[in-house]
Symmetry: C2
Subunit: 214 residues, 2 copies
Amino acid sequence: MAKVRFRISMSLDGFVAGPSQSLKDPIGIGGLRLHQWVFPLAAWRSMQGLEGGEVNESTIVVAEAVSGVGATVMGRNMFGGGSGPWSAEKPWNGWWGPDPPYHHPVFVLTHHARAPLALEGGTTFHFVTEGPEAALDAARRAAGERDVMVAGGAKVAQQYLARGVVDQMDISLVPILLGAGERLFDTLGDDLRGLALVRTIAAPDVTHLKFVRR
Amino acid sequence: MAKVRFRISMSLDGFVAGPSQSLKDPIGIGGLRLHQWVFPLAAWRSMQGLEGGEVNESTIVVAEAVSGVGATVMGRNMFGGGSGPWSAEKPWNGWWGPDPPYHHPVFVLTHHARAPLALEGGTTFHFVTEGPEAALDAARRAAGERDVMVAGGAKVAQQYLARGVVDQMDISLVPILLGAGERLFDTLGDDLRGLALVRTIAAPDVTHLKFVRR
């Protein structure tokens, strides 16, 4: 059965983005340190059209992240372009260029309506103003028998985690401190909503923790 | 060469104690959930004089925690008995009964002087009022060629981590949320002072992360 999945990289002190997110620092100051483990991997490089790279214990996690996903949900911040109404003169079309790495429908949670944006390679961004449940419903319909991936950021993930609708959560725990920024688990109290640790993968510079809902 | 070691259990959201620590809840409300992984282990039970129990991937971590340790440093809260001057009428002698599980000198950081307290089995509590550096110096001298263990709580650990004197840090990451309480990494900024992840052990209901200073 199709699942709702969520994956993210988190520092040892619980941050999934650094402080002062901006166009220059989309994931905040120091936030890129959360993702250093993925860049050397052949599995990641091939998605960017690059050759070579490493194969290690993280490879399976990168492969899983894109396998069997039929739709993605993300927040306005993750799509980017600043806050407020969309600009007609200088339309923001996401961080990913003409051929984004999704290749399926992506539902962007926003307060500002906008026509769907179809880019190359099968990625169409749909802008949903009716809230997280409407976005998830639309994503589920679009995904069919495949899974829905909640891509982030933290606030969007918290909304779905709080509703108890996340069936699988993959935390890539990075053994660093960020000290400030956006915490993943700031609003959930002491309740993981049934998500239990089922797999731990020790990889270079990162530990992958897989939780599934019982 | 003798090392300064620190080990602690931490929740996925970074807490090492729950909120509202008290005599009734020495590690705060919900804090015992951080330690559920250790109680079924034969390695832990035998230290309490109990027979039976499980052997699993956590066994080595429990064995390491007591191996080669010649002295312990802990905070006043961890020794317990409330704050303020020591009571002469109702002396608090720690949580551990007549034969504490240390079997070596223990240095308790406190603002209130008190004569050393020698209990059974080789455990003597020394009360240090001259601050964390004096306590660590005394512990190093007492430990000789063996290691010094920083036992906690969080504030004491932070002081030694901030000084960069911790050579080895073992975090037992428990896949639960506490939502409130005492965070381990609240005061260290984005700097682990050279501590780098060198070993990850996947065990039932806990992931053991070993850091050493490079």
